[in-house]
């Protein structure tokens, strides 16, 4: 038995600002054993606890896919004590990491099927790892559609990658910003994500949907997908409950008898529907 | 005589006290500056923490200093009526009045906590104050019964 709470040290290979208060770190393992163990376990959708001694730990998804084995990435917003301390770190410095924890998107079961990714704002990172995992294994899947929206053009994350996806022939990318959030040279759509999804009317035929975003976006997007004919078992999302331990002990992420950190964070909408709604 | 003996007994050999001073920017800090530019000699044991105003000196700061192992704390600002922000020192004075009594009840005696008004013109008063506080704390010895002190983890 070993100390489950002992993190490994990661070096920040590069750091870039995605949007106001949102930053991405590319992290390299400094411990080879930890790295090997990590890749043995890591599947898209899993998360880790990123920390800085003296400040504490925060939970974010691993934003890079398991097909990229030189580094992991995380993208996060500055919201409190830990995220502020982390964002003040620069390339070359170190932070701590524990993980990967939680369950994952069952993408092996999606082979041959079409996939639509729907994300809003800072919720693209958990979806992005799935997108790249799928794109890195492109031939195994059918049609790939990505719908991504943010409040303003400045709030869009991964702008370079949006351009890459845009340029791919076998990916349909729809970007949108909320009304009033556009700039003069904005070429994407203007409107809220649920409306844009409705207008683009993706076919539910042999298609799975991955939906991540702020609660309000999810609340209005799910009925749209249902109306289009998507089955609740084919719509996947992640829950972002507050966590401390990440390993099913501290009790903070409990929803009903589930530990979101162990049984989640990936759930189908069918599963979410069975949870006590008042605790979400 | 008895008192003198006790003091020598509790006093550690070569004891150099750690004293934390919370001072306001406009008066006491300027007074300390004047003491320096006037080349007045004063004891080097005081670590000064400058704040905009004594009104900003929360009792938590004082506790934090003791927690970190300060042998004594000095709090100093503008004379009544001289506050750069009109009334910050009056507010501070009310807090000190109660908080020092509470600390005293908890075991932080008078000789571990000092208060003063030092204006920007009182370089000499500042030097004298520091010398006197340092001498008192030196005589009292290390703050072994400091109830706020962080224990080793």
């Amino acid at each position: 038995m070993s100390n489950l709470y002992q993190p490994t040290v990661m070096r920040i290979a590069s750091a870039r600002d995605e949007a106001p208060e949102i930053r991405t770190f590319r992290l390299e393992f400094t411990d080879d054993q930890y790295k090997q163990d990590f890749y043995k376990k890591y599947r898209v959708g899993m998360f880790g606890l990123y920390g800085l001694p003296g400040a504490g730990e925060s939970t974010f998804c691993v934003a890079s896919p398991p097909t990229r084995t030189d580094y992991i990435e995380c993208t996060f917003r500055r919201t409190g004590r830990v995220t502020a301390a982390l964002q003040d770190r620069e390339a070359g410095q170190t932070i701590t990491f524990r993980g990967p924890y939680g369950n994952s998107f069952p993408i092996d079961q999606w082979k041959g099927r079409n996939i639509i990714f729907i994300a809003g704002g800072i919720a693209l990172p958990p979806v992005r790892s799935v997108i790249w995992n799928v794109l890195d294994r492109r031939s195994e899947f059918g049609k790939v559609t990505i719908v991504y929206g943010a409040r303003t053009v400045a709030d869009l994350v991964y702008k370079d990658e949006l351009a890459q996806w845009e340029a791919m022939d076998d990916v349909e990318l729809i970007t949108t910003v909320d009304p009033g959030g556009e700039t003069a040279d904005w070429k994407g759509k203007i409107g809220f994500v649920p409306t844009v999804v409705k207008d683009s009317a993706p076919s539910p035929e042999d298609c799975v949907a991955v939906v991540c975003g702020p609660p309000i976006m999810i609340k209005f997007t799910l009925p749209v997908l249902t109306d289009l004919g998507f089955a609740a078992g084919d719509i996947f999302t992640t829950l972002e409950n507050r966590m401390k331990c990440g390993i099913g002990k501290c009790g903070r992420c409990n929803v009903g008898s589930l530990y979101v950190c162990k049984d989640g964070p990936v759930f189908t909408v069918e599963q979410v529907g069975k949870m006590p709604q008042g605790d979400l | 005589m008895t008192q003198a003996t006790t003091q020598t007994e509790t006093k550690a050999e070569g004891f150099e006290p750690r004293i934390v001073a919370f001072v306001c920017n406009w008066c006491t800090y300027a007074g300390a500056d004047l003491a320096g530019t006037s080349r007045l000699q004063y004891a080097p044991h005081v670590r000064i923490v400058k704040l905009p105003c004594t009104g900003r000196i929360d009792p938590l700061f004082i506790l934090k200093a003791y927690e970190g192992g300060a042998d004594a704390v000095l709090v100093s600002g503008c004379h009544p009526g001289d506050c750069h922000y009109t009334s910050g020192n009056y507010h501070a004075r009310r807090r000190w009045t109660i908080f020092r009594r509470l600390l005293s009840l908890a075991g932080v005696e008078e000789g571990r906590l000092f208060f003063s008004w030092v204006s920007a013109a009182e370089g000499q008063k500042f030097a004298d104050l520091i010398n006197d506080v340092t001498a008192q704390v030196k005589a009292a010895g290390p703050f072994k019964h400091n109830p706020a002190r962080r224990q080793a983890w």
């Binding site: - | 009056y90 004075r93 109660i98 020092r100 009840l105 908890a106 008078e110 400091n146 109830p147």
Partner: protein, 271 residues
């Protein structure tokens, strides 16, 4: 039980029937205990009880959202609770019209009052509530100790503190939306139940009671570990009165003691 408990019950029923209040906060008997009662229907007033064992300070419920949403309400209040209500009025936490007082003391029920009427009653009938004499004796003993002994005494008292914050939860004066101990940028007070964190917490809790504590004793009753919080509270209240001639919870218009000032406040200790 006080002799005229029926009068409390019928006053509560009348307030509910006339629609003047939506809720009556009182006490009921449960076995050997007295527990809070939340009465919303006139036909439930029969459970209301009052005697000297009813020690909880019901004014503490006035910061709970689920109770505030049922204002206007009535509170069964002994003198200390009335003082808490005065304090909450002075601190802009409640206003006239939101809270009606069912005034009680060990002798019995003394009528239905608004906040202004409560202030009048307090100052006429209960201007001096003598503090517990054993408390004063204990305090005198502690004050006679050497600093080393005082430090050791409090370390021992604070040692069992588990930081459950029951003291804070039971206190009507602790109405901050977010307590200083929960501020984490920076973390001023260690949240670990260890000596320095416990010391800092109890010092700051006591200090924040300056000008607020009405010495109702609810915090000490709530403490599962039996920490003698009233020694600290009584000390602070005594010093506030001695230094600033202020007695907490008698004037609904009073300025906060810490947070106001006078030019001629004492300062003999400042060089």
């Amino acid at each position: 039980m006080v002799a005229n408990i029926n009068e409390i019950q019928s006053a509560a029923a009348a307030l509910l029937n006339e629609g003047k209040v939506k809720l009556v906060l009182g006490y009921r008997v449960r076995g050997n205990d007295r527990v809070p009662a939340f009465v919303t229907q006139a036909d439930q007033v029969g459970c209301l009880a009052y005697d000297s064992a009813c020690t909880q300070n019901l004014a503490a419920y006035l910061r709970k959202g689920e109770v505030r949403s049922r204002m206007p309400l009535a509170v069964v209040a002994r003198p200390e609770v009335m003082r808490s209500l005065m304090l909450l009025t002075a601190e802009s936490q409640i206003a006239e019209g939101q809270v009606t007082v069912l005034a009680v003391d060990e002798q019995g029920f003394h009528g239905v009052l608004d906040l202004a009427g409560t202030a009048k009653l307090l100052n006429e009938q209960y201007a001096r509530i003598a503090p517990d004499s054993s408390l004063m004796e204990q305090l005198a003993k502690i004050e006679a100790m050497t600093p080393q002994e005082r430090s050791a005494f409090w370390s021992e008292q604070f040692e069992p503190c588990t930081r459950c914050y029951a003291c804070r939860a039971a206190c009507p004066g602790c109405f901050c939306e977010r307590c200083i101990v929960e501020m984490n940028t920076p973390q001023w007070i260690s949240t670990a139940a260890e000596s320095h964190g416990n010391f800092a917490w109890h010092m700051i809790r006591a200090f924040h009671q300056a000008g607020r504590c009405v010495e109702c004793g609810a915090c000490q009753d709530a403490c599962p570990q039996g920490i003698p919080l009233m020694l600290l509270n009584h000390f602070i209240a005594r010093e506030v009165e001695r230094e600033f001639d202020a007695r907490n919870g008698y004037d609904p218009q009073a300025e906060p003691v810490i947070g106001s000032w006078k030019q001629d406040d004492k300062q003999e200790y400042i060089r």
